[in-house]
Symmetry: C2
Subunit: 413 residues, 2 copies
């Protein structure tokens, strides 16, 4: 099943442009995009979503996000209804032809205007691996890790949609034995395989969002590649955390898969020991079973049509901290959450090498290079390399596909 | 000279609401606000600022910021012209009465829609003081400090305008000898005395902004209070930096003082040794001579009209890294800067105790409490305390006043 194949069980939302028309909101179905703006103009949401032409005619999902859970539920129910009866309603309204656009004719845009962007660090395996690499000889997992869903704010202005090329950043690096740092193109450019969730507005007065209310505020998820310059990160990150090593680009997939669609795939996460403090306590199935993979292609492989080399296969279900806990923690100090907020999960790594979600982990900081399909080796990313990440839950008619997030490295400018 | 007194040399921009009218842009002059939207509607900017009614009728400065340096210069020149000839032009246009509003009749709003918020750490004295407190026994200044203008991304959604009360955050804290952390109202709530700068758009393609071009993109400055929960910060900040200890609130002053107004007060900063790398190298006068003070009032002092106790007197001129270097560093990896970006300087501390810009430094982490005007002592902030910060350059007719940023602590919710 290729990434473009979206089942009726999925119906992810995105912002698309086609045939020279301004960008608007659509949902993906099979190999098509259903133009919700066209349906809204035909009056098909009149009794279901107030101001539907504004909401679905918008160049970002933000107006829909700002409407909140009730509208999300109503809109999805109506879309299911419209698409169910063999699209009769569309035909009757005379919009079927116009409103269904082949997916290969659309250009996908960044689905949201990013309000604030937060990136967590919620895979205990990733945190352990990175601790070993960045702080050799010390205890890899810091004492706060099992108490706090560690996170930090990232840069909203450089979140880009899948397909946007990523230019290799310049930055400061310093070898341990060097007297002074140098400023040059990063030599340790990496990806991080993540899932990001997107919210509507939180309570206006900043009332914290308890874990069991988190799903009221989380609209859906995307694949997220948190591009990272490891040499820059190693030198800059003390004491205030990563900054320029991350801020040059974050790529997300164009189709936002709703929590509603993912509901059948909710599963229990790993045991949490010690028990989280009360404000973070969750019970039952709070993780999501989403199979993930990351693949690399060299420029030569892309040119010759060689299939990308899968370098990591992992699953979102193993994350130590779940999304409900992340949102509860984030708002526990009454920080306001807004429509368009983006929260990255942190790199998703499993417990064995082929399941690690970044090259620094997969290669042991470059010591054990990956071998690509064309026989070339990679400690870190080279110019012209393409990173593609995919994710899905379920199979057959029940499959809920996240599509993909892709980016190709351009040489430093 | 009280904070409300703004000279014709200053003309800071702000967003104000008065008399039930929608918020719009004004400049402060003496004890009045000049309503630029009213002037624009009267046609007084027609030959000077294209679309002036849109720009000055906006509820944020962002449209003006997005216009860039040429418009900023033209607008300021025209305002000076309009206000110079004894306001004759205003009288002729019949708008003088309407367009000049007493400053005590306006309600000031957040002047910008904050795009991304970055906070630096550019006082070497502050970094040294904090290093001693947070990492006792280790070298206080980390090896990267003199090479990198250290900074991190903060939360844009919780930047608030002066006067907005600040609720004491709850958060995780853990004493070194405690077995587990607790979640409770912060007991070490602090202020940080900073200056923030506000930008227009950087180059759309992300071309780095060289230090000698920084002033093309920096519109002006505000006072900034980076409220900090020190107990939360100490427990959470490794390895990804401060998060919830800072994200609950950042207060800024309502009047944005332009770089144009501050130009007479440009001075050389402290020597930088080692010499910064080429992409950060600046020459000549790159700092600004801005006298600053922070003052505290207890609830009782506020109630009884007792003058606030000045607890810190310092100056912006001593910052190790200047604004041009901060912006150059930030964009050196081609991160895009947008209209409405806010960059905090980091706490502004001098080299002796009375010049430190935070309570954790002033009190040695609470060991040597401050004594307020009512005889009460403060290791950190108590509920009902009001923090006020002021700043100005020059004197008499040449005075350029930043006004003030004020916030009162509410009990944890």
């Amino acid at each position: 099943v290729r990434a473009g194949r979206f089942t009726p069980a999925n119906l992810p939302y995105g912002v698309f442009a086609a045939d020279g028309r301004p960008p608007r909101i659509g949902v993906a179905l099979d190999d098509s995009v259903v133009d919700l703006y066209a349906l809204a103009r035909a009056g098909l949401f009149d009794s279901h979503v107030a101001g539907a032409t504004e909401v679905f005619g918008s160049p970002t999902l933000n107006p829909l996000l700002a409407r909140g859970r009730e509208t999300w539920t109503a809109a999805r129910a109506r879309i299911v209804e419209l698409l169910a009866a063999e699209r009769r309603a569309l035909h009757d309204a005379g919009v079927a032809g116009d409103a269904i656009v082949p997916i290969d004719r659309v250009e996908m845009r960044l689905p949201i205007g990013v309000a604030d962007y937060v990136d967590f660090y919620s895979s205990i395996e990733h945190a352990t691996n990175l601790g070993k690499i960045l702080r050799p000889g010390a205890e890899p997992l810091l004492p706060n890790y099992r108490w706090i869903p560690i996170g930090y704010h990232g840069r909203a202005s450089t979140v880009v949609v899948s397909g946007t090329p990523v230019r290799r950043p310049r930055g400061q690096r310093k070898a341990p034995d060097a007297e002074a740092p140098t400023f040059e193109p990063s030599r340790m450019l990496d990806f991080e395989l993540e899932i990001g969730f997107i919210t509507g507005d939180g309570p206006a007065d900043g009332t914290p969002i308890a874990p069991d209310r988190a799903r009221d505020h989380i609209f859906g998820v995307v694949l997220l590649n948190d591009w990272s310059a490891r040499d820059v990160q190693g030198w800059e990150y003390q004491p205030l955390g990563p900054f320029l090593s991350k801020s040059f680009a974050t790529s997300i997939s164009p189709w936002v898969v709703t929590l509603d669609a993912l509901e059948p795939f909710r599963v229990a996460g790993p045991p949490q020991d010690p028990r989280p403090l009360d404000y973070l306590a969750t019970a039952g199935a709070q993780n999501y079973d989403i199979a993930l993979e990351a693949a690399l292609s060299s420029a030569a492989m892309s040119r010759d049509g060689v299939a990308p080399t899968v370098v990591s296969t992992t699953n979102f279900r193993g994350m130590y901290w779940n999304m409900a806990q992340q949102l509860a923690h984030m708002t526990s100090n009454r920080s306001r959450v807004r429509a368009g907020d983006l929260f990255g999960s942190g790199t998703i790594s499993g417990s064995v090498p082929g399941t690690y979600g970044s090259m620094i982990e997969l290669t042991g900081r470059g010591a054990h290079p990956l071998v690509l399909g064309d026989g070339s080796e990679r400690g870190f990313l080279e110019d012209g390399d393409t990173v593609s990440m995919r994710g899905h839950s379920g199979d057959g008619d029940a499959r809920v596909d996240l599509g993909e997030v892709v980016g190709t490295i351009l040489p430093a400018g």
